[in-house]
Symmetry: C2
Subunit: 782 residues, 2 copies
Amino acid sequence: MEQNFAVVGQKVHKYDGHKKVTGEVEYSTDIVLPGMLQAKILRSPHPHARILNIDTSAASRLPGVKAILTGKDVPQVGFGAERDFSPQWGDQRILKTDKVRYVGDEVAAVAATDEETALEALSLIRVDYEELPGVFDPEAAMLPGAPQIHAGIKNNISIFFPLMFGDTANGMKGADYIIEDKFTTQMVNQCTMGPRCIVSQFDHSGNLKVWRDTQFPYPFRAELSHVLGIPASKINIVRTAVGGGFGSKIDMQPFDPISVLLAKETGRPVKLEYTREEEFIAGHPRHPFAFYLKTGVKKDGTLVGREVKCIVDNGAYNALGPLVPLVAMHAFVGLYRVPYVKYDAYVVYTNKSFGSAFRGFGNPQGTFAVESHMDMIAEKIGMDPLELRLKNANQPNTGTINGLKITSCGLTECLQKAADSGGWAEKRKQNSSQVKKRGIGMASLIHVAGGARVFGLPGAGLSDGTGAIVKVDDFGKVVVLSGATDIGEGADTIQAQIVAETLGVRYEDVVLHGPDTESTPFDLGCHASRTTFCAGNAVKLAALDAKRQILKLAAEHLGVPADQLDIRNRQVLVKEKPEKGLPLTEVLQKAHYDLQGKIVIGTAYYEPPNGITDPQTVTGNMSATYAFGTHVAEVEVDTETGQVQVVNFVAAHDVGKVLNPLGLEGQMQGGVAQGIGYSLTEEVVFDQGKIVNPHFLDYKILTALDMPTVKTINVETIDPEGPFGAKGVAEPGLVPTAAAIANAVYNAVGVRIKDLPITPEKVLQAIEEEAGHNKLFSRNFT
Amino acid sequence: MEQNFAVVGQKVHKYDGHKKVTGEVEYSTDIVLPGMLQAKILRSPHPHARILNIDTSAASRLPGVKAILTGKDVPQVGFGAERDFSPQWGDQRILKTDKVRYVGDEVAAVAATDEETALEALSLIRVDYEELPGVFDPEAAMLPGAPQIHAGIKNNISIFFPLMFGDTANGMKGADYIIEDKFTTQMVNQCTMGPRCIVSQFDHSGNLKVWRDTQFPYPFRAELSHVLGIPASKINIVRTAVGGGFGSKIDMQPFDPISVLLAKETGRPVKLEYTREEEFIAGHPRHPFAFYLKTGVKKDGTLVGREVKCIVDNGAYNALGPLVPLVAMHAFVGLYRVPYVKYDAYVVYTNKSFGSAFRGFGNPQGTFAVESHMDMIAEKIGMDPLELRLKNANQPNTGTINGLKITSCGLTECLQKAADSGGWAEKRKQNSSQVKKRGIGMASLIHVAGGARVFGLPGAGLSDGTGAIVKVDDFGKVVVLSGATDIGEGADTIQAQIVAETLGVRYEDVVLHGPDTESTPFDLGCHASRTTFCAGNAVKLAALDAKRQILKLAAEHLGVPADQLDIRNRQVLVKEKPEKGLPLTEVLQKAHYDLQGKIVIGTAYYEPPNGITDPQTVTGNMSATYAFGTHVAEVEVDTETGQVQVVNFVAAHDVGKVLNPLGLEGQMQGGVAQGIGYSLTEEVVFDQGKIVNPHFLDYKILTALDMPTVKTINVETIDPEGPFGAKGVAEPGLVPTAAAIANAVYNAVGVRIKDLPITPEKVLQAIEEEAGHNKLFSRNFT
């Protein structure tokens, strides 16, 4: 049933848009405190080496240097990844004492009166290293005799997940074909426009205040407390504006406690900000993956089973790496109906910069593999790739073999609408014999869209909730105290819309405060596309609580039962007789300035109905709902240069319900831009463990000028649990892009690139190899 | 019944004590914003003059001057006093266009890049005045032919209250004596250590943020909105630390909208801070009063009735002046049982600096008169002043003829304890024939102690409430979002204690945020000794709401009904079996990190059961409870110089219940210090309308070295409505001091000073007159 909404679904301006374009918004880097020091970190120049000695004496004599820390000065407490999953995952240390494990590892830190002095001090610190052999390829790292990166970790395998789902007794039995391939993906960086920055300050009572562009204020507080031994109750994290996150600002990093310890040591506020180069070297990029993928299929396209061996190039430390293959898995297990899946995932250390969370969290990697594979299967059995996908697509109110509960599901509609809009039927066969050949490809996705209960407090369990307070004052101004974190994607806009819609006030009547971990209620943080869903539900419930109070107050004045009243356009009115009513401010003021005065404060805590119920087998309904979508890419491949140009793009997504049309459009366009970059141009390139392109000159992200026309299609499935039917759609925009483009390239020139990115070199080489091959075999493009 | 308390009643450190002594606390004057301008105000040098012309051209050419405002540039909207009582009371304007009415009236304002430039600009503004005759004495101002200060205000009487209470039919009938006298009091200044300061800033969306050391953030926002025509919903008032208030920072002043308008005009933040001289000239001091007082009494000391004519020297503008005589009235009507009172109050304009709220709000004036008078009555009827007071003292669970409901009342106990401790019986007759003569005197008080419902939103009614949110996080940290304003007196300490006690946590587990008018719920503001009572009850109720939630969560885990549980020392335990229980943090974490997670947020709004029910006759129960107390002063008077030295002092107060022993002690000691200054040394001295001592060299406030030993006695009456039985005790400390000292002086040297302050000149002159008089009459000291 279609409802009329006044604010939800309308093209409102971005909540903090004015502040951002005028420079009013406050990023951590804008924080200036009296007496504040600047800090810098000395990082390892070697991918693997033993630290023999650190001499800071010359640096400490430099005027303006206020503190120097090395490993012996800081708590040697393990952190990283999720401590509650496995203690050994906490392999990170604030500053290293024994060994360095990648080019960029933290060795010492300096706080000085200014940045130049801090940098000069770094240059005066002398570190004696004994270089050790490094290993840079995960499959080499797994071999006997490979250099051991972490003591006690056999074959450098941080963790091995041997998982099985569904009909394991029959396995691949009944398959007419078993198709087998290997797919590999590269490391890419989030390239947030705002490098991460932390400012730390102690007061004289030992309370710590931290300004940080974190996606995870509340878990960050707990983690800082853990590593520093400061009670969490003495820490307040103020989330400053976030200049883009994409996952890179989820987990605590060594530079966080370093800043705090320097502030403690000096008794002065300390600012520590990454350079762009540090963002590349010591950021938390997307892991390279290798997938050995085997799919069993019947002649009619029925999927029989999949067997996957997945190797994650973890880099030198875990961070969130061990969890990433568990999300990558969804592409194989959850996107299409498949009765059996075997999934072996190895997370393997190498002497390189280490990955962590990046938009999609393994899913872009997995989806590239599985959706490339689907096209190869279709070709094998002589079926149109669209038909094969439609045949196996998930349907509403079903489930998957790993326990996902599919409620609303618009995958079929996404497939059809994207295909129609992209001109699938016509363009699929448009190949010509020109130098520049065109092709079209598609790929779909599934992703968590109703939270993902994976983070918690060690020993206590997991939480995926958001708390909210909604306060309505005498003047009908609505203040929302929500713990949720806007990282630039527009979460505040969504929250303000939902509250305004629920309370029948104007969008501009709503203001949000916080978050900081003291004054706003708990929110897990910004990850897993959860904020619209979880925080949206939380602020909606708190607004409903406030509304209930208002209608009760109005009922007394109007002599009409509260359940017959509603609020629209700042008027409390009788639903059946809308001409009868009172201005909202009159109701509020009468109630407040009465002898038995009352004011309106609504509260709520929303915890989504989700969760892995069996951690051992990794089964259960990880999310309260799932997002689906299909990308159709049309490419032009220059057969003389191998250059791939995306000339047309359609992105159809099951978004549940459009809450913020402009924000959604931006989210999807941005996703596709990142997806095309991932497909074609972006790659962190290493030489013997050292990144050779840690800057935007040699690392190519797409600009507006590089973008094709992207048509976005919103499929509204009105999710039963989502706020106004909405789902989380933050990550999906880039998930299937690479496979769609790879499939289009294949359609254009008949070569299959299984290793991202799809560079001109690879395409040209493949075309040349294929040309040689074609001399022997004949082939049909279908 | 005595309860055991863990936090309440304990000597905790002041909540913000560390921050204050280390300089961490942020006053408005500490605010520094990028591009901030400094503002200054050009004030009238004449007490009464017509403005003929203002030439700002030279000032505007001065480099660094960014804006100049005169009356024609600003909204000419009336404000001041309580607009909802009477529109004509809004006699104040931001900048004056027609006339100036006192030395200090606002004529023009400048914003410049620095203070020096702003001051230089002021010197370049040329104002042509036509001087008018001024009137400086209210009784002269009431005479026909006196200069008229405000158009349309006949005889310069801003308001006349002709009030009658009780048995008006019989009046003074039955009195054996009718004793008649005149008492007068001087103007005194609050002398806050922190001069008032405002910083105003607009963002690019037209939202106004104001940092101000206000006692009244929420009414201040409404008032700014009214005068500037900016919707209140676009204004956020951040209450910065208050360097003392004593009432001076309650009402909006012209400098507030001036700062905002300069910020609007320049598009830059503007700071406007009072100098000490401005604090004296354009502060909001205590009004001089004249009382013509007639008391009817029977021979046995029974009070028959009182007739009072009270003349308030209002100064040039109303501010809160019209309300002050209504509180002064309580001394005559409410302190002792009296069956009939006639009270005629005249609030009269003069061409002088104008008063407003100052600790006691009329009560120090009225109590000086009535308690001096009580001693004169006692002498007349030959009764000990203590006996006369005991005979007529209010008793618990009674009422007064103006509708006050006396619930808890420790006046009798205060009288007796103060007399005993002060050595009343012995010292009363200690006079010797030495040059330095000692005497002892006493005086009592009544004051509102359970709020005072007098402020509101025009058209909506009155509010006396406080809202509070109490949030308990995973780590047992308790965050209080309360609208209440600490002005240095320790309201935050009290709130933290009450919350800690209620929730069974440690004092240091509680942190307060705000207030600012957006993120914290409404509180009326800091006046009328209401914060401990109203905000104390609000945070207690919110904490109880949180506690209820916690016990419910714990009940599930412990399998014990919630009503059998309690929280003590961060343990949730079974009341009857305290060894059974769980740590509070375990309960909180279990509940939160559960699949059906819950967090704890308590809310409350407390509105005290009080209010003037008949505004026409000014009757009703203004406050939910009342404070009582007795001061006993022992003085030594130098008969050769007239110098009065207070050598010993006892202050016994009915405080309901001691919540914060150290804070209470400080409050009382500070009150007595202000009271002695009021009695002996403090006076704002005018010469033809110009203040001649606007600085601490010539205006003498007491320092620690000037203070006698003050013994404070706390009488705990456990008020039925107060939080843990407490009453408001902010103002009482200085209310009866002057009468006690005047009575002691009389006891020492037999002269009655009826005009404050009791200066050596007045005493010496009175002694000399009395000596002449004594040649004719004989007299007994009793």
